[in-house]
Amino acid sequence: MNQDPSLQEPVDEFDGIQIAGAPIPRSWARLFGAGLFFAASYLFLSFAWPDWASAQSEYERAEAAEIERQFAEIGRLEPDYGTITSFFTDPAKEKWLSVGMGLFNVHCATCHARGGMGLSGPNLTDDSYLRIKKLTDIPALLVTGAVAAGMPAWEGRLSKNEMVLVSAYVASLRGQNLEGKEAQGTIIPSWDQAGR
């Protein structure tokens, strides 16, 4: 068949517009074939390897990789005095404080400010605390929150490891006495004297 429509017998004419009888352009037909081939291959692959095409398994893979990465080095953390202080006494573990800081900046900084000097929430860089008497009260307060005062409970929203890292970061802020919200609550003894 000839590709030039002007040489084709017109199919019809309306209001002076002719419809030429050119066949379907070969380039388009090839694209069409390629499209069908892509669709068929994708369908086949998604049935043959369901994990490959599934958003759910993509998510689970990311999660597994993440947990492996986090726990391989520091293991499962317990919210006790030794574990928390190790993050600011052991230089090898210090980089985990920045992880705690990252979490703090995502979840806590809107009320406590970046750096912890306080906005609507209390200043965390001085020696006065409202609900904290000793170091391990910090992870405990994260679990329950202080709902009446506006602090949400983080149980179920942060993992246990993440809560320990945030606690370590918050504990490390103490004593910087940054300019910010005025001191609230009572002055408590330093972490190592406040009891374990």
């Binding site: 499209g35 986090q70 506006g150």
Partner: protein, 762 residues
């Protein structure tokens, strides 16, 4: 039957003026919306100047005002000429014209007043929707009446596309806007939760395809060969173009469901058909551009043709972009960013706008019977419009990539690299500036076009010459096409059937029967639509819905409970302020996303959302899990003065909601309507609603004061205000509720004294 007739050109002239008027208005609003996105308090803190008001207004005016009137203009010009008979009824034409403009004015006014459904491209409330449906019926009667009374034997290609568009948009409009009215200016959609998400997406995609793309391409099939003086390249390609396009476009509509709580098979289907939809779209581009072969001199002399060529090239680019976007790996970088909302505006409207202006340039000298004032100005219009469109598209594209790149970036130790959302908003600012420039260029182009057409009109003759045509008798009866015999003999039955089918004899026959043709279009729309909407209705589907009684829902989905009366009112504020224009409410199944916003959303969590507010982009953070993440005090202060609590925020201030009184009078009607839709509330809930809302508001206002260091709320002028009877407290109650049910311990049934007031009170 009269022996002579003439074509009604006055209706065409009216629609032409209406197109330009709405174009200028819609583009002005788009410019204002772009400005307010960058400077949220520019021009004062008036609510109707907020981006959340202006963006949907400009989208609706661009679609129903600009493109709508332009399509009617083209249809009323070409249809009678292609049928060699006048339009069916002049009074229906006039009724259609004036009714449509009145509907648009009412719709625009209602959107500016915050009267809206809160659904993408379906914002008009039910009275406007009903008017639109009635006007569409009038248009359809007038159109199909003309086709039936035609003096041509067959329907020309343009009429196929018009027919399909009229039938299809009717279906999309009616089904997509099913709602139960609550009073004169409010309603709840007939289906809630994920079903509403499906319907919203299906409908918005249907409008973009069948109200904009299909009829505009129909106009191309008339005006392009007319202006070029060349035949349409291929009859066969036209048939393939239309009948592949309808189903593929509809089935492609589920690609935005990638990574969302919708079932994965729907996402896979969207991916496959989204990619395949490229082919029918390219068929149109091929057919248009190939028809221009050998029309080189015409191309230089006829401004309309230049518009058509650029429009077709942009159409091809848009098609390519859309099919790439339907791939998951691509979608992940653009979904729920600045781009996804603008895809429609810059894409579908971009090329459509150029096509429409090209048609107007061709028509203006003919209907005003005067030569076009200036070809040079027309070319300038084209370049301004193209540059404006490209700038808008490129800037939203860049903003989308930049933002999602930051939102998903993780540090080597697995933490979010940009934990603060506001950083991503700041990164988008230069792109939002470019977008202002793009809208500005488009505005300049349109002004040039309007000026050019206005000066053409100025040189019109004192009275228009009326061309009188002898009435042609209906075409002589000719036997209907019959199925030809296969010429192949030594092959399989299937091959023979295919050979007979591909002679297209059945299509030739259908072209003589407008109503049969319309019925084909209806089937081509209905079947893929049923597949697309199926995830919401298939038995055993996991999408959850409020058709299930609350008790059953609790049994299967845990502690998901309906909104309390106060939260319900807060939700109304959220919807009518257009918060969903910038905030999404769905956490996708992406690791970085769950890291930022907590657990990904499950379908059943949306069961009580009428309408659902998933949204399409994130100028502000996702709010699906907002409940309990911020103190009540913070939320109140943030709504009253966002820039203070989040420096750099581009959210407008909603201090007015803290002053507006809380109106409890609509509660009974609202909850009654929701009961009709899905058994959410008991009668006792409804009768005790006002008291319950008051109590919850008083509690929350007290919580605010306690968290605010026992200081009461003060407005901008320092006046003390009790929040207990203010709209703002309802909005805060709603925000504090979002996404928390999922983490609640299931309630022990009937253990609480106040369960008789409302379930889900806490």
């Amino acid at each position: 039957m009269p022996s002579h007739f003439s074509y009604d050109e006055s209706i065409v002239r009216r629609f032409l003026w209406a197109t330009y008027s709405w174009a200028l208005f819609a583009i002005l609003i788009a410019l204002a919306a772009a400005l307010r996105l960058r400077w949220p308090s520019l021009g004062g803190d008036l609510p109707w100047l907020n981006h959340g008001y202006l963006q949907p207004l400009s989208n609706h005016l661009a679609v129903f005002g600009l493109v709508g009137n332009a399509v009617f203009c083209g249809v009323y010009y070409s249809t009678p000429r292609l049928c060699k008979s006048p339009m069916y009824s002049r009074s229906l034409s006039a009724l259609h014209f004036w009714g449509w403009q009145a509907m648009l004015i009412a719709g625009a006014a209602s959107l500016l007043l915050g009267v809206r459904q809160g659904r993408e491209l379906a914002e008009f409330e039910w009275p406007v929707d009903l008017a639109l449906a009635a006007l569409w019926l009038i248009f359809a009667l007038n159109f199909f009446g003309t086709l039936i009374r035609r003096s041509e034997r067959r329907l020309y290609i343009a009429l196929w596309f018009y027919s399909a568009a009229i039938v299809a948009f009717g279906i999309f409009h009616l089904v997509g806007n099913l709602a139960l009215p609550v009073g004169l200016w409010d309603s709840y959609p007939a289906f809630g939760g994920v079903r509403d998400v499906l319907l919203q997406r299906w409908h918005a995609n249907g409008v973009a395809t069948f109200f904009v793309a299909v009829p505009v391409i129909g106009m191309m099939y008339y005006f392009l060969p007319k202006a070029a003086g060349r035949p349409v390249h291929s009859y066969r390609l036209s048939v393939v173009h239309l009948w592949l396009w309808i189903p593929a476009a509809i089935l492609a509509g589920s690609h935005p469901s990638h990574y969302t709580p919708l079932p994965e098979w729907a996402s896979t289907m969207g991916l496959l058909f989204g990619t395949l939809a490229l082919l029918p779209l390219l068929a149109g581009v091929f057919n248009g551009l190939l028809s221009l072969r050998g029309a080189r001199e015409k191309l230089a002399a006829e401004p309309a043709l230049k518009f058509f060529v650029v429009a077709l090239l942009l159409f091809g680019l848009t098609a390519l972009e859309q099919s790439l976007f339907s791939l998951r790996w691509f979608h992940v970088h653009l979904g729920f960013t600045d781009w996804s909302a603008q895809g429609m505006q810059a894409g579908a409207l971009g090329w459509g706008l150029l096509m429409v202006f090209g048609v107007l340039y061709w028509m203006a000298p003919r209907v005003f019977q005067a030569p076009l004032h200036s070809q040079a100005l027309a070319t300038r219009h084209l370049w301004f419009a193209t540059a404006g469109m490209l700038l808008t598209a490129v800037s939203t594209y860049a903003a989308g990539f930049a933002q999602s790149g930051m939102l998903q970036a993780l540090s080597p130790d697995g933490q979010l690299l940009y934990p603060e959302f506001i950083e991503t908003v700041e990164r988008m600012e230069p792109f939002h500036l470019l977008r202002v420039a793009g809208s500005g260029l488009l505005m300049i182009g349109t002004l040039i076009g309007a000026y050019n057409v206005f000066l053409t009109w100025k040189t019109r003759p004192a009275t228009y010459e009326l061309e009188v045509h002898p009435a042609e008798p209906p075409p002589a009866t000719e036997p209907m096409e019959t199925r030809p015999e296969p010429t192949l003999t030594a092959v399989l039955e299937t091959a023979k059937k295919w050979e007979v089918f591909s002679t297209l004899w059945w299509h030739r026959r259908g072209e003589r029967q407008p109503l049969r043709f319309a019925a084909w279009a209806a089937v081509a729309v209905a079947l893929p639509s049923a597949v697309q909407l199926a995830p919401g209705w298939l038995p055993g589907s996991t999408v959850g819905s409020a058709g299930v009684s609350a008790a059953n829902l609790a049994a299967s989905h845990g502690p998901i409970t309906p909104y309390t009366p106060l939260e319900l009112l807060g939700r109304e504020v959220y919807v009518s302020e257009g918060c969903a224009q910038c905030h999404s409410q769905v956490v996708r199944r992406l690791w970085a996303e769950t890291k930022r916003y907590d657990a990904f959303s499950e379908p059943f969590e949306f069961a009580f959302d009428y309408p659902s507010q998933w949204g399409t982009r994130r100028i502000g953070p996702d709010l699906a899990r907002q409940g309990g993440r911020r103190s009540t005090q913070w939320l109140v202060q943030h709504l009253a003065n966002p820039a203070e609590s989040v420096p750099g925020s581009t959210m407008p201030a909603y201090a007015a909601t803290m002053e507006a009184p809380l109106d409890l009078s609509s509660l009974a009607a609202r909850m009654g309507a929701l009961r009709l839709l899905g058994e959410h509330y008991t009668e006792v809930d409804v009768s005790g609603a006002a008291a319950h809302a008051e109590a919850q508001a008083a509690d929350l206002a007290e919580v605010f004061v306690a968290q605010n260091g026992d200081e009461p709320y003060r407005d901008g002028r320092g006046r003390v205000m009790d929040l207990a009877d203010r709209q703002g407290i309802a909005l805060v109650a709603y925000l504090q509720r979002l996404g928390v049910d999922r983490f609640k311990e299931p309630e022990v049934p009937a253990a609480n004294a106040d369960t008789e007031v409302a379930r889900g009170a806490r």
